[in-house]
Amino acid sequence: MATKIKPDDPRRFLDPKTVAKINNLDLRAKQVVEGFISGMHKSPVFGHSIEFKQHREYTMGDDIRHLDYKVWSKTDRFYIKQYEAETNLRCNLVVDVSESMHYGNGPLNKYNYGCTAAACLAHMLLRQHDSAGIITFDEAVRKVIPARASMSHMDAILDAMHTSKPREKTDILSILRRVTESIPGRGMVVIISDLLVDREPFIKGLEMLCQRRHDILVFHVLDTEERTFPFVGTTRFEGMEDMPHLLCDPRALRDGYLEALEEYLVEVRRGCTRLGVDYQLVYTDDYLDAILSKFLHFRADVRNRSARAR
C-alpha cells in the first residue's frame, strides 16, 4: 500500500516512477571534474588508476617509487611513469524557487516540476556515488547545501527545495556570482529556472561559471500556458515579481506575445550555445522521465564522441 505524501512534505519532489525510469542511466561530466574520492569521472590530477597517461623526467622531490626503471635501463635517464586519476563528480543543483516559478495551471507548476527534476537528478548522482549539493535562490541565494556523496544527503537536498514564501528574482548576476563563489573546484552545475530575468546578466553569470570550468546544464522550465497563451475574454494580468498589471483582450495580444516569447527563447538558447552550456527547454506538460532520459542519453553521446575525437 502506497504511503500518501503530504503536500508540504519535501519528499513529494522525489517521484518514484520517474526515478525508476532513469535509474539505469548515469550522469557523467562532459569534462574533467575535481573530486575528492575516486570514482567514475576523470580527475584533473594524476592518480593510481591503471590508465597510463605519460612519462615525465624526474625532478627533485618526486617519489622514486614512480621511476620507470625500464626506461632508465635503456636510456640511463630517470623518467617517472604517470597514470590517470579517476574521481567522483561534484554536482551542484541551482534551483529557482522565486515567485514566477510558482505560476502554473494545475498541481505541477514550474516550481514543482523544477524541484522534481532536481530531486531526480540528485538521487541519480548519489546513487552513482557522486556528490550532489543544492543551491536555491529567489531574490538572493536562499539555501546552500554543499555537495556530499552520501545517500543520506538526499533529505537535506529535498529540504532545501521546500520553500513557503517565494520571493521575486532581482539581480540574477549577483546570484550566479554567489553560486560561483560557493562552489569550490570544478564540477557540474545544473541550473533549473524559468529564466524570467534579464538576459544579459544571466549570460554574464553563465560566463562566470564557465570561467571556473564548470560543466553547466540549464533546464529552462516554462508552463504550458506560457507557451500557448490560451486566454480569452477581458483579463487583468497581474505581473509577478514587481511587473506591472495589464488589462487587455488576450486574444488581441496573443500573436505578439508568442512572437516575443520566441525571440526570448532564441536569445537564451543562442547565449547558452555560445558558452557551451547544455540547454534544455522543458514545459510542465512534458513527461519528466522522458525529458531526463533524452537529455542524459544526449550527454552520454556527446561525451563518447569527444573521447573518440581525442
Binding site: L196, T224, F231, G239, R251, R254, A260, Y264, D289
Partner: protein, 944 residues
C-alpha cells in the same frame, strides 16, 4: 426624423448605437484576474500592437455601431420616395343603383354587389386609418350625388362603425334607381377641384359593378376616356373597385356575369284610350343572359289578374328582345257629367277634368333565381276617356273661314270620327286653357304666338303633349324660325316666303301655272308625295296607297331650309312625308354611274371568290349597262330611284317549273362584303328620290311637335305672285285622293296620342304640374301603390296614403313628386273649388314609376381594357388608375411611401457589413492554428 415612417424607432436606434460602446465598457469592468509570470512578453506585445489594436478595435466597434444603425434604419423605414406621408383625402362613390342588387353567393349566404361594396368601403377605411398621416373620407351615394356625403370625417378607430351606421341608416340596400358612374366620377372630380387647401394625396374610389352599358355601349360610354384622363391629369388616383359577382379574376380581360330577363318596355298604342275600344299593348321582354331564356308572363289590370293573360315566352335568344302584344278594352267607371253645347269653355274643361280616369296595367314575369327581379314588373298608367278632345286654334282671318277652309275639313272629320272631339279656342285664349286636358293641340294657319302661349305650349309639350301645325298664307316665317323654333315648338326652319314650284321655274302667268298643275295631276303618273318611313303611325295606312297620290297636287307650300341648318345630325327630326325631288338629273348622273361601276366591280370580285354569286354577273351587267343608264336617259329622278330600288330590293322570280329566272337582289346585298356599298346606294337613292319635306315631326321633351308645311284647307288663298290659289287639293281634289284625307287627319290624331307616355316615368324622374289657384283647393292627397315583389305577386298591397299642400306661385298651385325611389303608381287627387258633394269635385291624376330597365338590367360587365384604357402619356404628377377586386387586401391605402426596407440593396449592404464585422471579429479573436493543440483541460501526468 420626418424622413422615417417610424421616427421613434430611429430615435431608439440612435440610442442603441451606443450599445456596442456600453458593452465594451461593461466588459472592461467585468474581467478575469490572472497572476502572470511572463509579463515581459505580454507588455512587449501590447507595446508593439497598441496602435494596430486600437485601430482594429475601433473599426470593429464602428462596424457594430453601423449594424445597429442599419437595423434601426430598416425598422424605422427610411422614406426615400419623398417627404413622407402628407395625408390623403378619399372620395368614395358607392354605386347604389338597380344593378347593384345583383347577388352572388359567398359561401352559404348570398351577398348583393352593394353589400360587398359596403364591405370594401370599410376595408378601404380600415386600411387608410392605419396610415400615419391624416386621412379624410367622404362617401357619396351615386343616387344622391347632389346631396351631402353620407360619411364625412377624418378616419380613425371608430370610422368603420360610423360607416356601418351610415349604411344601416339607408337600409343597407341599394336603390332601384338608374345612374351613370360617369356622373359619380365627375362629382368626385368636382369635389377635388373645389377643395381649396391641399390635403395630401387624392383618391377617388368608385365602388361599382362596372356594367358594360355604363362603360362601353351606353350613352356615357363615349366620355369614359375623357373623364378618366381629366381625373388622372388632375393628380387624383382613381381606384375602380369591382364588387359584382362572380368576382373578377386579376388577369382576365373579361368578367362573367349573371343572366337576367327584364321587361324593358311596356307601351300602349295610344296615350289615351277611348272607352270601349281596343287598345294594343306591347311588353318588350329582353333576355340579357348568355343562354336561351324562358319565362312566364302575367298581366294585371288595376291589381287584378287579367283573365287569360298568362303567357309562356319560350326560347328567347340571348341578347334579343321579344315583344309580347296583348289587347285590352276599358270601360269608364266614373260618371262624368255630359258636356252641354251651351257650356262655356271653362265649364267644359271642368267637366272634362272630372271625367279623367286612369287604369294601371301591370306586366310581371316569373321570379328569377339569379339576376335582378325588380325589372320583372312594369306598370303602365293609361288614361281612359269617353272621347278624346283636341284643342284646335284657327289662325285664319274670318274671311278665311269659308267652305274648304282649314277648320271646315277638321270639323267634318271630328263629326265623323266618333272618338275625337274638338275644343276650339281663340289664339288669345290659348294661354288660359288647361292644356293638360288635351292629348293634342292643332294650330291652323297661325301667324304668330304670344309669348305666354309659347311658354304654355312649351311646358305642355315637354310634359308629353303633342302640337300639330298646319301652315298657310298667314304664317310668319321669321316668328317660326326664331321664337317657335328656339322654343322647340316648330321642327324646321322655313324659307322667307311660300314656295311655288312653277313660280320657281319662272312661270309668272297664273293661268299657265294652273294648266301645268292640272296637267301634272292628270298626266304625270308619279306620286306627288312620298313616305320615307312607311312604318310610322302617321303614314303606315297611307303608304300602301302611295300610287294614288299621283292625283294629289301640292301647289304651294313652305319650303324648309337645307336640313343641316335645322337638324345638323339628322336625328332630331323625322320627315314623314316628302315631295319628290325636282332637281336636275345632271346633279345625280355622275354619282349614279360611278356607284354602278363600284357595284359591278364588287359583285365580280365576289363571284370570283364564291361561285354561287356568279349568277348575279349578267344581272349586274344589265343594271349597269341598261337599266340605270335608261333611267338616267329619261331625265326623271323618280325613274332613277326606281331603278336603284330594283337594284336593291328586287325579289327572286320563278318560272312555271319553279326554276329561278331572276335571282333575289335582296339576298345579294345581305352579303357582308357588299353591305357598306348597299348602304351607300340606299342613301343615294333617298337623295335622288326625296325632295322638300312636307310633314316633319320632332320629339321635344316627352311630347312631340308635327308640322305640315301646307294648309289643312283647300280653299283659294294668296299664293306666290297670285291671289287665289289652292295650296293643295288633298281635302277637295279628285275623290280618290280626298277620300284619303280624313284618314290622314285620323292618323295625325293617332300620331298625337301615340307613343308619348306622359304619365309613365322611370324612377328618379320628377313629376310636376301646376293648376289654377282660382279653381283648386291647395290641399292634395295622394296614394302610392308600390310594385309587388314578383315572388309575392298574388298579394294585394294596400296603397300608402299621403297628404300634402300644393305650393302657391302667383296664380298657380304647383305640386311635385320628387325623389321617387320605389316603383309603383301614384294617384294624386285634387279638389276643385265650388259647391256640391266632394266626390263630384275631385279629380285624379295617376303616374306610374318603373325601374329604368334599359339602363340597369343588362348585367354584362365591362372588359378590363375598357376600364383601364391606354391613355396618352401624361406628366409625372398624373394619378394612378387601378382596378381592384374584393379579394385584394387594400393595404396600399395605409399610405406606405417607398421606404428603405423595400430595397434589396440595403439588405445586401447590411449583409456585407455583417460579413465584414464577423470577419473582423474572427480576425481579432483567439483561434488555434492548424499545428496547434488545444490547451489541456488538466495537467498531464508527470510520467508516461
Amino acid at each position: 426624423m420626418e424622413f422615417f415612417a417610424h421616427p421613434w424607432y430611429m430615435a431608439a436606434g440612435g440610442l442603441l448605437v451606443s450599445a456596442p460602446i456600453l458593452i465594451h465598457l461593461i466588459n472592461r469592468m467585468r474581467f478575469k484576474r490572472v497572476r502572470w509570470a511572463a509579463m515581459e512578453f505580454l507588455l512587449k506585445s501590447q507595446k508593439r500592437n497598441r496602435r494596430r489594436m486600437i485601430i482594429e478595435q475601433l473599426i470593429l466597434l464602428l462596424l457594430r455601431i453601423l449594424l445597429v444603425l442599419l437595423a434601426a434604419f430598416l425598422v424605422a423605414r427610411f422614406l426615400y420616395g419623398g417627404t413622407g406621408p402628407r395625408g390623403a383625402t378619399h372620395v368614395v362613390i358607392v354605386d347604389d343603383t338597380l344593378s347593384m342588387n345583383d347577388a352572388g353567393k359567398q359561401g352559404e349566404e348570398s351577398s348583393s354587389a352593394f353589400n360587398t361594396a359596403i364591405v370594401q368601403v370599410k376595408k378601404v377605411a380600415r386600411n387608410a386609418s392605419k396610415a400615419a398621416s391624416a386621412q379624410y373620407m367622404r362617401i357619396f351615394l351615386l343616387s344622391e350625388l347632389d346631396k351631402s356625403p353620407i360619411f364625412d370625417a377624418r378616419l380613425g378607430d371608430g370610422s368603420e362603425r360610423e360607416i356601418d351606421e351610415a349604411f344601416v341608416k339607408r337600409g343597407n340596400k341599394p336603390t332601384l334607381l338608374a345612374g351613370s358612374p360617369m356622373s359619380g366620377l365627375e362629382r368626385g372630380q368636382k369635389y377635388f377641384s373645389d377643395m381649396k387647401s391641399d390635403q395630401g394625396q387624392k383618391f377617388i374610389h368608385l365602388v361599382s359593378d362596372f356594367r358594360d352599358r355604363d362603360w362601353t355601349t351606353g350613352p356615357d360610354a363615349e366620355k369614359v376616356s375623357e373623364v378618366l384622363r381629366s381625373i388622372l391629369d388632375a393628380g387624383v388616383n382613381l381606384n375602380l373597385i369591382d364588387t359584382a359577382a362572380p368576382s373578377r379574376t386579376p388577369n382576365s380581360k373579361v368578367a362573367n356575369h349573371h343572366d337576367n330577363i327584364a321587361i324593358v318596355d311596356l307601351k300602349a298604342e295610344s296615350r289615351v284610350a277611348v272607352e270601349d275600344s281596343d287598345i294594343e299593348f306591347t311588353a318588350s321582354v329582353m333576355n340579357l343572359g348568355q343562354a336561351e331564356g324562358r319565362t312566364f308572363l302575367k298581366v294585371y289590370i288595376n291589381g287584378e289578374e287579367s283573365p287569360g293573360s298568362d303567357t309562356v315566352l319560350e326560347k328567347i335568344a340571348p341578347n334579343s328582345k321579344v315583344e309580347h302584344k296583348f289587347t285590352l278594352r276599358f270601360n269608364s267607371k266614373r260618371k262624368g257629367t255630359e258636356i252641354n253645347p251651351k257650356d262655356g269653355p271653362e265649364e267644359r274643361e271642368r267637366k272634362r277634368r272630372l271625367e279623367r280616369e286612369y287604369n294601371v296595367i301591370r306586366v310581371a314575369l316569373q321570379r328569377e333565381e339569379v339576376g335582378l327581379n325588380a325589372d320583372n314588373v312594369r306598370d303602365l298608367v293609361l288614361e281612359v276617356r269617353k272621347k278624346v278632345p283636341t284643342l284646335v286654334v284657327d289662325g285664319n282671318k274670318p274671311e278665311g273661314r269659308s267652305d274648304g277652309g282649314d277648320m271646315s275639313h277638321l270639323a267634318a272629320f271630328y263629326a265623323a270620327s266618333g272618338i275625337y272631339e274638338v275644343e276650339e279656342r281663340r289664339l288669345e285664349d290659348l294661354a288660359k286653357s288647361d292644356l293638360d286636358l288635351y292629348p293634342g293641340v292643332i294650330l291652323l294657319n297661325v301667324a304668330e304666338l304670344p309669348e305666354a302661349a309659347i311658354k304654355k305650349l312649351q311646358s305642355y309639350v315637354n310634359n308629353g303633349g303633342s302640337v300639330t301645325w298646319f301652315l298657310g298664307e298667314e304664317t310668319k316665317a321669321d316668328h317660326f324660325n326664331t321664337a317657335l323654333f328656339n322654343a322647340g315648338l316648330f321642327p324646321v326652319l322655313l324659307e322667307d316666303r311660300p314656295y311655288d314650284p312653277f313660280a320657281a321655274q319662272g312661270i309668272a302667268d297664273p293661268e299657265q301655272r294652273k294648266k301645268l298643275r292640272d296637267a301634272a295631276r292628270q298626266t304625270d303618273p308619279k306620286p306627288k308625295i312620298l313616305f320615307p318611313d312607311a312604318t310610322n303611325v302617321l303614314v303606315q295606312r297611307l303608304a300602301p296607297a302611295q300610287g294614288l297620290f299621283r292625283y294629289l297636287g301640292i301647289n304651294v307650300y313652305w319650303k324648309a331650309r337645307v336640313r343641316s341648318t335645322w337638324d345638323p345630325d339628322g336625328r332630331q327630326t323625322k320627315p314623314l312625308v316628302v315631295l319628290p325631288n325636282t332637281q336636275s338629273m345632271d346633279v345625280f348622273k355622275g354619282r349614279a354611274l360611278s356607284l354602278m361601276e363600284s357595284a359591278a366591280a364588287a359583285v365580280t370580285k365576289l363571284a370570283a371568290k364564291e361561285e354561287e354569286y356568279r349568277k348575279y354577273l349578267p344581272l349586274m351587267d344589265e343594271y349597269k349597262t341598261r337599266t340605270v343608264r335608261n333611267a338616267i336617259a329619261t331625265g326623271e329622278l323618280f325613274a332613277l330611284a326606281e331603278a336603284l330600288d330594283s337594284l336593291l330590293n328586287s325579289q327572286q322570280q320563278l318560272n312555271d317549273k319553279r326554276e329561278e329566272t331572276r335571282p333575289s337582289m335582296t339576298s345579294l346585298w345581305q352579303q357582308v362584303d357588299l353591305k357598306p356599298l348597299a348602304d351607300e346606294i340606299r342613301e343615294f337613292r333617298e337623295r335622288v328620290l326625296f325632295g322638300d319635306p312636307l310633314v316633319v315631326s320632332r320629339t321635344v321633351g316627352k311630347g312631340r311637335v308635327l308640322a305640315m308645311l301646307t294648309p289643312a284647307g283647300t280653299n283659294l288663298r294668296k299664293g306666290v305672285g297670285e291671289d287665289g290659289v289652292q295650296w293643295n287639293n288633298w281635302g277637295a281634289g279628285d275623290r280618290i285622293v280626298s277620300n284619303l284625307y280624313p284618314l290622314f287627319l285620323l292618323d295625325v290624331h293617332r300620331f298625337m296620342i301615340s307613343e308619348g307616355q306622359a304619365p309613365n316615368r322611370v324612377l328618379g324622374e320628377e313629376t310636376t304640374f301646376a293648376v289654377d289657384a282660382a279653381r283648386y283647393m291647395p290641399d292634395v292627397s295622394y296614394t302610392f301603390e308600390p310594385q309587388p315583389d314578383v315572388s309575392v305577386a298574388a298579394a294585394k298591397i294596400e296603397p300608402e296614403r299621403e297628404k300634402g299642400v300644393m305650393e302657391k306661385q302667383e296664380n298657380l298651385l304647383s305640386f311635385a313628386l320628387k325623389d321617387v325611389k320605389r316603383p309603383g303608381v301614384f294617384r294624386v287627387t285634387l279638389t276643385q273649388l265650388g259647391e256640391g258633394p266632394l266626390e263630384d269635385r275631385q279629380e285624379t291624376r295617376a303616374y306610374a314609376y318603373n325601374v329604368d330597365a334599359t339602363a340597369e338590367s343588362d348585367l354584362k360587365r365591362a372588359g378590363r381594357e375598357r376600364l383601364l384604357p391606354d391613355l396618352p402619356p401624361g406628366d409625372a404628377k398624373r394619378g394612378k388608375l387601378a382596378l381592384l377586386t374584393p379579394t385584394e387586401s387594400f393595404d396600399q391605402f395605409q399610405e406606405k411611401t417607398p421606404d428603405a426596407s423595400e430595397s434589396p440593396w440595403i439588405y445586401l449592404f447590411f449583409i456585407l457589413i455583417l460579413v465584414v464585422e464577423q470577419a473582423m471579429a474572427v480576425h481579432l479573436s483567439y483561434h488555434l492554428k492548424g499545428n496547434e493543440n488545444a490547451p489541456p483541460a488538466s495537467s498531464p501526468p508527470v510520467a508516461a
